[in-house]
């Protein structure tokens, strides 16, 4: 596609798979994932870096895909909601959100899931206050957060129990 800025090939690993697609230097990672690679699970809520709906993991760290240019992650690893579980299955975090009614419209959910994964990597046994603090950058307009906090607590407890049993 001919554009004002021209395009470059961006190569990165998405959900463990090498992907290459063309992008203008100004193309946001959200648009690259959604329209370049067809991974529409990453949602766009504000393009201002505030709502957190577009949160993905870049090299294991949570990042706002709406404040990241695709070219910035050249050669890096991006994990999106599509990679959390095999098709037809749910990850433990997804399962917990479902069990605790941690979503209603579901639009904020991919970002919530990414932030939850990152939180539990950093801090496998967070207190409720720590959960609230960590997730305060992901807003949800539907749930009032009750089910979300409960879901994170549930996964943490399940993982703790599983590692005890192991």
């Amino acid at each position: 596609m001919k554009t004002r800025q021209g395009t470059v090939a961006v190569e990165l690993t998405v959900n463990g798979e090498k992907r290459v697609a063309a992008a203008e230097p100004r193309m946001l990672l959200t648009d690259f994932l959604r329209h370049g690679l067809g991974l529409t699970g990453t949602h766009v809520g504000c393009e201002q870096g505030v709502c957190g709906a577009c949160t993905v993991l870049v090299d294991g760290q949570p990042a706002r895909a709406c404040l990241t240019f695709a070219v910035q992650v050249e050669g890096g690893c991006v994990d999106t909601v599509e990679g959390m579980a095999e098709p037809g299955a749910l990850s433990d975090v997804q399962q917990a959100f479902r069990a605790e009614h941690g979503l209603q419209c579901g639009f904020c959910t991919p970002g919530m899931l990414a932030s939850t994964e990152a939180l539990l990597q950093e801090n496998p046994d967070p207190t409720d206050d720590e959960i609230r603090e960590y997730l305060s950058g992901n807003v949800c307009r539907c749930t009032g957060y009750q089910g979300i906090i409960a879901a994170v607590r549930r996964v943490a407890n399940e993982r703790k129990a599983a590692s005890r049993d192991a």
Binding site: M1, K2, T3, R4, E24, R26, M27, D31, H43, V44, G45, C46, E47, Q48, V50, C51, A53, H101, Q104, C105, G106, F107, C108, D128, I131, R132, E133, L135, S136, G137, N138, V139, C140, R141, C142, T143, G144, Y145, Q146, G147, I148, I149
Partner: protein
Amino acid sequence: MLHAAFVRSPHAHARIVAVDPSEALALDGVVAVYTAKDLDWLAPMVSTGPMREGVVAQSRTPLATDVSRHVGDPVAVVLARSPYLAEDGRDLVEVEWEPLPPVLDPLAALEPGATLVDEALGTNNISHLEQSVGEVEEAFAEADHVTRIRFHSGRSTAAPIECRGVVAEYEDRAGGRYNVHSSTQMPHLLRMLMAPVLGVPEGRLSIKAPDVGGAFGLKCSVFPEDIVIPAVARLAGRPVKWIEDRWEDLAAGVHSKDMHCTMEIAAKADGTMTAFRGHFVTDSGAYSSIPFTPLVDSQVAGVYLSSCYGVQNVAYAVDNPLTNKCQIGAVRGVGWVPGQLAREVAIDELARALEKDPVELRLQNMIGPEVYTTPFGQTYDGGSYTASLEKARDSVDYAAFRERQAKAREEGRYLGVGFSPFVEPTGWATSSAAAGGLPNGFFDTASVTVEPDGSVTVTTGLHSHGQGHETTLAQVTADELGVPMESVRIVFGDTDTSVFGMGTYASRSAVLGFGSIHESAVQVKDRLVRLAGAMLEADHTDIELVDGVANVKGVPGKSVPLQQIALFGYFGGPARPDDVQRDGLTATSGYNPGETYANGCGAAVVEVDVRTGLVTIEQLVAVEDCGVVLNPTIVKGQVAGALANGIGIALLEDLAYEDNGEFVSGSLLHYLYPSTTEVPDLTLHTIETPSAVSAGGVKGVGEAGTISAPAAIVNAVMDALSPFGVVVEKTPMTPEYLRELLRAAESNGSAPARH
């Protein structure tokens, strides 16, 4: 597919002298630029909602023609090969503006000689309504005490995490046809309202709204973009996609609840409230929103004024001045929120004046649990008015709280508690709309089909955008038919495949969905048991359907699975009952229930840091009575989300305009809403008073928490700050605002000494 970007007014009020698209059109990738002139073949958009005497219809073009009337008003649209290029093109469209004086103060807008927002109307006040029942003047004249407050409910909006979007194509064959993907919450009403503007019969317009990322009422208006995108898709001969950005959502969607309220209560010395009188002025913005108009705020604040109190003398007046701001439309809780704020804040003020306990004062004046007709003629279908307040009181451990509060004050800490009992009209149908002053018909239909393999398909014109209808409506169907819930599929959100329906808003879908599905499922079930009776050689009255299997009651082993019954129903030849041979296993029924009213009570315990003005919510309680609960998890989820919204309204959410009309809340950095750190663990209780009128005793629940929470929080803050004698007169109660009140109290000596 082409992508659209709108050129929007940076001015509150300005004449459009000229639009020059030449630089934009010169940009490679920009395909077209259209202005109002290119769309002059469209019929105007007219706000014709609840028209009657005292209400002025307003007509507009989807793109501003000569005058832009608020920041964000669309004046041109750019089509390009990518959204990036469309925005590049948008920035290159040259508009010559001649700024006009903006109308920003709604009260000044009502004055004679005020600048007109829409000169064609000859007035800024697009609706003035008043109603009075009983002996209001006499009650005020004879009162031992009159409380009079002013309250400005702030300007907020839904701001769902997913913004709006429209994708449209025009098929230029067979007379022409528009196919539109939309983020609407009312596909059929949107089609009905769009078709005449586009100049096509409804059969040549299809609306699909499959998954919608939150709506909260905002997506039940008809917006200019809903018209412009299909129209330019037709002009360009290619599909066009427009996805709203957050600035557009905040500046040019709908705003809500911006209401200047005056509330008066007449009372006897013993605390008996004898009259309510309210005046509700909605800062209506530049356009009368379609279809509900700003009366969706002001009028409902007035018409339900008596709420759960037995006051018999009630009067209200409402005015809807246009201003050069974004239009006011329906958003969760609508005008019930300001109405609730005005009344409940005034009742607390009355309690302070009479030195009475605010809970006791409310209990003293409350109606009983039985069916009750209000002075304005709403007939409540029974409710737990006093029980809800008592439950809320006990949930905050009221007596112990007062001791804790006194002790904290000695330490210079200011805790407060506030209560907010409410009645919420739900299940919006013809009778409830009429009782609310909206002379329009509302009903819904559902179609239930048992397919040949025994699975069940339900189509409904209701819509789900987070309410979980796929769950609750499947549950209702499964219960009625006696089939596993997993075998039921709910189809909605497509005017081509769903039966006609009014859509989802106004806490109506539990009632209307239950009723319409129930009515249809009863008919299908009747056919199924007769078929099973024939197959099992038993009387059909002896057949019971459980979990997808028909059994003969009391005869173990004599059973037939639904799959076989269905197959027999479709292809069983003359052995089948006549109506099954004719109608198969499909039934479609409508439902138009009587008036249903949920009720409940909010309570808030807060601490105010008087040095910073920051309010911390220690506890937020919701006692909810939505009749028979269909699904406790979903009810709790609805209440919790609504309460969070209420916290935002009380403390955070503010769509602000500068004195020159510039809009300064265009991002989520500026328009704040509650995050995990502002919403505490919520205390949720349920009381079930089955509706005396609706199928299954069901009432709605979607807006309750948003209605109750703001008044509870304001009352709690006023209670906390009562030693300072400050009077809160608006929401949101930002730290800045509370510090302003506290500074005034400190400088006039009414504040207690600092610790």
